[in-house]
């Protein structure tokens, strides 16, 4: 069978530094994967490689069986992969509604069209309205994105990411900066909007990780040292030592 996302011996180095050192990962359609690991382990870099923001030094990335490495971000997105960013990355001067609508125009086939009015694109507008509701920003529908609170911006970030209806979704620390209550709301939201989709998410909040993921991939120093169910990962001694560090007093040298 083909995997939704398959990564084969992926490597990336910046100058002389090897950051991603041979990652292999295969994700089935519909799975929710949490990617965890120490700071600087290469999680965001991995996402950047998959989504086309960076070019791999070597290795392969396959999306639904199709080789996508070396493609431009927009090409990869058109093939059904969408991602969010660790640092909020939306359209600050556009309203919430417009942000979301931009997210889905390409995928509804409107592309570079300049011969029809947005307001007449009923399918796009209906979808957008639904998205606005899904991410709980009805009241801020017409507010410019810059004027949203941090948590609202994060929600919008996710909204823009899922708007196009991509099947494979990568979320980079979606709950960072949120309070506990907000986080739990947010997790529910993510679960809700990604039903039936393949999800990869980077997280540091273990509560979220264990609440959300079917499987966990642990990235340490550019390698996947474990890829298993939450229970198994939690029990894994290497993971504890490298990442969770609950008992390890000498916690220096994160990432080594």
């Amino acid at each position: 069978m083909t995997y939704a996302l398959e990564i084969k011996d992926l490597r990336k180095s910046f100058g002389k530094t090897d950051i991603i050192r041979g990652i292999n990962l295969a994700v089935n359609t519909g799975e929710r994967i949490a990617v965890i690991g120490p700071n600087g382990a290469g999680k965001s870099t991995l996402f950047n490689l998959i989504s086309g923001r960076l070019m791999p030094s070597s290795g392969e990335v396959l999306l639904n069986g199709q080789l996508i490495n070396g493609k431009k971000p927009y090409e990869i997105n058109r093939l059904g992969l969408s991602r969010s960013f660790q640092i909020t990355n939306i359209f600050p001067k556009l309203s919430v509604f417009e942000n979301l609508r931009c997210g889905l125009l390409w995928h509804l086939g409107y592309r570079y069209s300049f011969l029809r009015f947005l307001s007449n694109l009923d399918d796009a507008n209906a979808r957008t309205e639904e998205l606005v509701r899904q991410i709980g920003l009805e009241k801020k529908r017409n507010v410019e994105a810059v004027n949203l609170t941090y948590a609202e911006q994060r929600a919008l970030e996710i909204g823009v990411t899922i708007a196009g209806g991509a099947n494979v979704i990568l979320l980079d620390e979606p709950t960072a900066g949120m309070s506990k209550t907000e986080t739990s709301h947010f997790i529910a939201l993510i679960k809700h909007v990604t039903v039936g989709k393949t999800l990869l998410t980077v997280e540091h909040d273990m509560g979220v990780v264990f609440g959300l993921a079917d499987k966990i991939a642990v990235v340490v120093y550019g390698e996947v040292i474990a890829f298993d169910t939450p229970a198994a990962v939690r029990a894994n001694a290497r993971v504890q030592e490298a990442y969770l560090g609950s008992s390890v007093a000498d916690a220096q040298g994160a990432g080594h």
Binding site: P38, N39, G40, T149, E173, A176, Y243, L244, G245, G253
Partner: protein, 231 residues
């Protein structure tokens, strides 16, 4: 050391702080807790002179309310903002260099100390800070502020985006600061750490302080926690 009395702060015309009063003593770690949007970051900015504020504010007995940010910094206040604000096009060491005031002589902290504390930074010394991982950036901001040798450091959500292991590390690090006589005003979301290391806890709600006491008493006060922290 730091004393705020009835501080009101504004973003343009919008009134955010409605009379905030508290004190931070020497060598004390004070946690400032509260929900998103309650005004904690604004309090920090008000102290640093980055938002327009009214009221009374004293630092080491000196009025600092109308002073410019760089003057305040020179008086020995350090600030680590919540969104990190690293300088992306400068290298790690240049970022640290900017943390120094003047020549950096006589500072309690040197480059070496910083690199020892976070060896990861040493490795990335000549890398542009903009490409650092989220966690690395967080470490860098902490160190950058320390380079300026502050007597009180205001830290806004330092554990944000850090791996659990590093979070612990930061906790230890704050206690090290305390042991060197530096006061800390810690703005936190993660109650566990904050409660664990702080000497005193403040809770903010709707732009004013609604609780001021020891962590233990806060732990005991379920009503406050329920109303202002967790719901």
């Amino acid at each position: 050391m730091l004393k705020l009395q009835d501080i009101h702060a504004y973003y343009g015309k919008s009134h955010v702080l409605h009379g905030v009063s508290f004190e931070v003593g020497k060598g004390e770690i004070v946690a400032l807790l509260g929900r998103n949007g309650s005004g904690r970051s604004t309090t920090a900015k008000a102290i640093m002179g980055l938002v327009y504020a009214e009221g009374q504010m004293e630092w080491k007995g000196q009025d600092i309310l109308r002073k410019k940010a760089y003057e305040i910094a020179h008086l020995g206040l350090g600030y680590v903002p919540e969104n990190r604000d690293i300088f992306p096009k400068l290298t790690v060491s240049q970022n640290l260099l900017l943390g120094q005031k003047g020549s950096g002589k006589g500072s309690r902290w040197t480059f070496k100390d910083m690199y020892e504390m976070f060896p990861r930074l040493k490795e990335r010394e000549h890398t542009e800070a903009g490409v650092l991982s989220g966690g690395e950036q967080q470490m860098l901001t902490l160190c950058r502020t320390l380079m300026g040798d502050p007597d009180l450091i205001i830290i806004d959500e330092p554990t944000e985006g850090l791996a659990p292991k590093i979070v612990e590390l930061v906790g230890q690090y704050l206690q090290t600061l305390k042991s060197r006589g530096i006061s800390v005003l810690l703005i936190e979301q993660k109650l566990t750490i904050a409660m664990h290391i702080s000497d005193r806890a403040l809770v903010m709600g709707h732009g004013s302080i609604v609780f001021d006491g020891t962590p233990d008493s806060l732990r005991a006060d379920a009503a406050i926690r329920k109303e202002w922290l967790e719901v």
